[in-house]
Amino acid sequence: MISVQGLTKDYGLVRALDELSFSVNEGEILGFLGPNGAGKTTTMRILTGYMPPTRGIVSVAGYDVVEQSLDARRHIGYLPETVPLYGEMTVYDYLDFCAAIRRVRDRRQAIDRVLEACDIGDVSDHLIAKLSKGYRQRVGLAQALVHDPAVLVLDEPTIGLDPRQILSVRELIRGLGGEHTVILSTHILPEVSQVCQRVLIINRGRIVAEDTPERLTSALQGGTRVHLRLAKASPEAAGMLAGVPGVRSVTPIGVDGYEVICDGADDPRPELAEMAVHRGWGLLEMRSVAMSLEEVFIQLTTDEASPPEERVPAGEVDDRREEGR
């Protein structure tokens, strides 16, 4: 449905996208992940025909986005990063305009459908300028859906929504898969694992990873990690724990915590527990920690050359994750 080959985009001397190639199958939901400035929005703008590529071939729904731009655009619904809304219009009139310029036959029916799908029926006669951020975002989504396009390109669709709305929008997007082909970009990593079938991580205009969310996490994980907390550990505890078969390394964390990295598939937790109990260290807690998608993300998108502020602060991502639940 979407095919991108050797896509390169230069802004003057700056290379925003460097030989990007990927494809999205019909009905698939692809998550587009990357730090700010990685090239997500640029890619989406090229897909939707807003700007042409410097080099490369991009086709959407079988149409080349440069050569057959109008045909390609007819099959795309696009929610840009800054939601394109006319404040002086009512929600209904705005959607009517969007439906009209995309040649929707039965506009009333199409509008009723998206008002319902995006849960904005109660504000259909309100002025857009008076709407809250959450409503504006959903009106933008409704606009992208009003002509029932084969391909949906959503640039951070859940930004600015409250937790309940985030859940309902994710539900909506997940429901779109199958019939529609969806590309969505996001900073919110759990969103990707909840909504998308495939993830594409890009950094500095290049694809650094491409796989299912589950496989990405497990592939990079290596071994399992176990967090231990011991109330009365002796100083030599760390060394003794490291001696348990299957344990690769032990790192003390804080006053009473230990991070135990294990090799491969072996799970040494029974041995660890037995040792702690046997030695009378006062086992307070033991849990295995899976490497989260955000850690994978940071591992893939951080390199020595990038300044620290480019890294995604894990704390912030974690907070958002809580919000999302």
């Binding site: 802004y11 703008r45 939707t48 025909g49 807003y50 700007m51 042409p52 109008l70 045909d71 655009r73 007819r74 795309i76 696009y78 840009p80 800054t82 939601v83 394109p84 809304l85 006319y86 002086e88 219009m89 009139d93 305009f97 969007c98 009209a100 310029i101 995309r102 040649r103 606009q143």
Partner: protein, 238 residues
């Protein structure tokens, strides 16, 4: 073509929803009304000629057209709504022409509202109706060329004030360009003599409808609308 209609209709509603059109129309009618009153009082002639050719009228026309058009494309670019239009199956020129027609409609409405003045003249004297109609036609044509200049100025910037000032600058430079004829050779002179935007207007006010003048204003309008569409297209390439 249907897209032109949809864009124009949306834009017309935007005009009606914002205070700009009302304020411009009210000030325009007040200024021209006052000016006409004075001219009538001193000239004691039932004619529109002095009003339509007065420097205040012409300067004010430049001002009004640029204020009416400054928002059209500049604001779309600042608000990011241009992204909606340019990623919808709408051609760039359809966006430009639709917006231009909405501005033209508002301007024509203003001119129509000032139609009370000929009626007053007909009540108190015996003006030549044909000459008045021809003058109004010239005024509309001049205005439609100035509006196209305004659309162009609005396409090159995100800032409405910059757009208005730029449009006024282009219009006034085109007005003054006639002075250059003194400094150029014979060949270039015939070209430059053709340029000044107000020179083609005075014949209309005298009651002469010359197709060359009509052609001039139509071609200025088409040229600047064409340039606006090209600017929109060029924006994509950056």
């Amino acid at each position: 073509m249907r897209n032109v209609y949809y864009v124009a209709r949306r834009e017309l509603n935007a005009y009606l929803a914002s205070p700009i059109a009302y304020v411009v129309a009210a000030v325009y009618l007040a200024v021209l009304g006052g000016l006409s009153g004075f001219i009538l009082y001193y000239s004691r002639e039932a004619t529109l000629r002095y009003t339509l050719t007065h420097g205040v009228t012409l300067l004010f026309l430049v001002l009004v057209t640029q204020v009416l058009t400054m928002r059209l494309l500049a604001d779309e670019q600042r608000q990011g709504t241009i992204e909606l239009l340019l990623t919808s199956p709408v051609r760039d020129w359809e966006v430009v022409v639709g917006k231009y027609l909405a501005g033209l409609a508002v301007f024509a409405l203003m001119v129509l509202l000032s139609g009370y003045f000929p009626i007053v003249l007909m009540r108190i004297g015996d003006p030549d109706v044909g000459v008045m109609l021809s003058g109004y036609l010239g005024f509309l044509l001049l205005g439609s060329a100035l509006l196209a200049i305004g659309v162009f100025a609005s396409s090159v910037t995100q800032n409405q004030v910059v757009a208005a000032v730029l449009g006024m600058g282009i219009a006034i430079l085109m007005w003054l360009s006639g002075a250059l004829t003194e400094f150029v050779g014979e060949g270039l002179r015939t070209v430059i003599e053709y340029l000044p935007i107000f020179d083609h207007y005075f014949d209309f006010v005298r009651g002469i409808i010359d197709t060359r003048h009509i052609l001039y204003y139509v071609s200025v309008a088409v040229l600047f609308l064409f340039l606006s569409a090209r600017v929109l297209e060029a924006r994509r390439w950056r």
